[in-house]
Amino acid sequence: MTDATAPSLPRKSKSLLAEDDRTKKRNAAEKRFKYYGIAAISVGLVFLVILVATILREGTPAFTRTAVTVDFVLTQEQFDEAESAVLKTAAYTRLFSQFVADQAEEKGVATDLTDEDRAEIAAGLERIMGKIGSDIRVHYRENPDDVGSPVRFNLAAASRVDAYLNNGQSRDGFVSSRFLEEQDLDLIDAMVEIDMIGSDWDRTFFFGSDSGVDNPGGAGIGVAVVGSFFMMIVVLVLSLPISVAASIYLEEFAPKNRFTDLIEVNISNLAAVPSIVFGILGLAVFIQFMHLPQSAPLVGGLVLTLMTLPTIIISTRASLKSVPPSIRDAALGVGASKMQTVFHHVLPLAAPGILTGTIIGLAQALGETAPLLLIGMVGFVARAYPDTFVGGFTEANSVMPAQIYTWASRADPGFYEKAWGGIIILLVFLLTMNIIAIILRRRFERRW
């Protein structure tokens, strides 16, 4: 009573139109925080742009190759002459370079070629195109009917020619070597002028297999892509059902006791184990103990399954947990069994999260290198595509990241470009997986 009737102190009323000090400070802090956020995102974006630009700049040349295209005509006499020579491929090489020299004269880029000039052209061509003679000989032995009529030969040029042309035909810093000499560049220029040399899609890179250490032009990633594909099938088929089943059991059915606590702790710890540990485990168990084939995508898949399981289990459990308990009550309340509750209601609601976790786990596995090196899935093991579907799992093969690693560690600079190109291919696959994940998520979310 007394308080209520006591005269209150006169209160100074503040205008709402002027900010007081506290408000000013608070607003400033808020603004600052906003700028920090924008700055952080900008830095991230800048790095992303640099990354993508670098990868594209360094990698795209791997997709094209420089090829020498010649509509070669071999007469019957020349064929007989070459086939009766002692050094047959050398004879073919000579005939071919003669033809190129004649063409050059005909098209007017060279005049009055002496025999010495011709010999020089022959030597230069061999440096530009490698051992052409055997390719040509093989063609005519397999297609004897082609003798006498023009045949288009499309032969890869050496990687140094590639570099010279990609550099805009600039001779700055060019160093003559036994691979390519200064005067060869004149020959190349002349061939460019008569459209004999140019770049086209490098089918070998997309569809080929790894090559020897001195032949970057013949190296391709196709076989490694197939290896990755078969390995990912193993990972998906094993890790998704196992981890979803394990998560459902742990989250929905398992009693809460010491034992399940222990399992839980171990799963979290497994997710933090370095992948190379799984690699050496795979080597010891799958190869040395169980005698599964070395370097096989099957073994790689098993190893990566071990690595992927904890990732998927953790994200699956998190998404099961995030399904509101009221949904479980509702289902149980109308008389659904525990299984029905889980499979009809909880699992569909958790599916987007499970899917995301799975794709993240798979993407991790797709980009994993270290454990695969330990079980022998290194770059140079496979020279051809597997013959059968089962063979895809059991025949020695490599995978994309291991192939990239192998290329990057080779001395020939031609492989450097291949490594970047391989990275683009790898990223394209990862991006595709992410897009699939997003599409699937959307579809699931629309349904619910």
């Binding site: 009550d329 509702a330 309340g333 109308v334 008389g335 009809h344």
Partner: protein
């Protein structure tokens, strides 16, 4: 034999006893949440459980369809006889029991599916319909009983979660009655609803009484007075008083009941 507080009146004897509960105890770990509760719940009657928060109303209600089975730490003892059969018997499958004893929860919890599928789910898993036409019929009947048919009949395919709170709760009631239960348990079904939706649900409960034994937990004494014929007052895990609603609200025999009703404990 058993000392059941204030069980009398002509209306009582004319109705069958649906649930007969004796010496019921519930423990959550060491917490003795329900102490020695015995009561009889009648068929075709609305029984209200009232009492202060945490006194065990929900716990006791959940014993009646064994929803407490889903809580690891909960332990239930005593006899719960539904039509003379002990529902905690080893041979009883709680899934079958829950089809017979339906439940409506405090927060409306429709499945994130279409309205139709919400109601059809129970009948489907229990195999109550032989074909689509029969299922349609069951769904319509349930939605009519849930007093929501007119509002949703044109949009059975839209999501149940898109309805308003009151509509969702009536949908949940429709879903519960779709499996043709004999007992309907409702745990504070109106606490998340506005007064108009509450009135609709209360009206619905009154209609449901014709076919079911309804048990409703409520915080609102007015609501208990409006919808129930029987009232049970719980306090600290004890069933303090159980009897005709009119009797309890006008002439309680226990001082604790009186204090609660007049607003001194709660």
């Amino acid at each position: 034999m058993y000392d059941i507080p204030t069980l009398q009146g002509a209306t009582v004897d004319s109705k069958e006893i649906k649930f007969k509960c004796r010496d019921c105890q519930v423990y959550y770990g060491d917490n003795h949440a329900i102490k020695d509760v015995s009561c009889d719940l009648q068929d075709k009657t609305v029984t209200a459980f009232i009492g202060p928060s945490g006194c065990g109303k929900s716990t006791f209600l959940r014993c009646l369809n064994r929803m407490n089975d889903t809580i690891d730490v909960a332990r239930v003892t005593g006899d719960f006889m539904l039509d003379g059969e002990n529902i905690y018997d080893k041979k009883v499958d709680p899934v079958q029991l829950r089809a017979k004893v339906g439940m409506v929860f405090q927060k409306p919890n429709p499945f994130p599916k279409s309205i139709y599928d919400n109601v059809a789910y129970g009948p489907r898993i229990h195999g109550l319909a032989k074909n689509k036409a029969e299922l349609d019929e069951i769904v319509e009947k349930a939605l009519r009983r849930g007093a929501i048919w007119d509002e949703v009949k044109d949009r059975l395919d839209s999501s149940g979660t898109g309805l308003s709170g009151g509509q969702q709760q009536r949908l949940c009631i429709a879903r519960a009655v779709a499996t043709e239960p004999e007992v309907l348990l409702m745990d504070e079904p109106c606490s998340a609803l506005d007064p108009i939706a509450t009135a609709q649900v209360e009206e619905l409960i009154d209609e449901l009484r014709e076919n079911y034994s309804v048990v409703i937990v409520t915080h609102s004494m007015q609501q208990a007075a409006r919808v129930s014929q029987k009232t049970a007052f719980f306090h600290l895990g004890n069933l303090v008083e159980f009897g005709d609603t009119g009797q309890i609200f006008t002439n309680p025999s226990d001082p604790r009941t009186e204090s609660y009703i007049t607003g001194r404990i709660g």
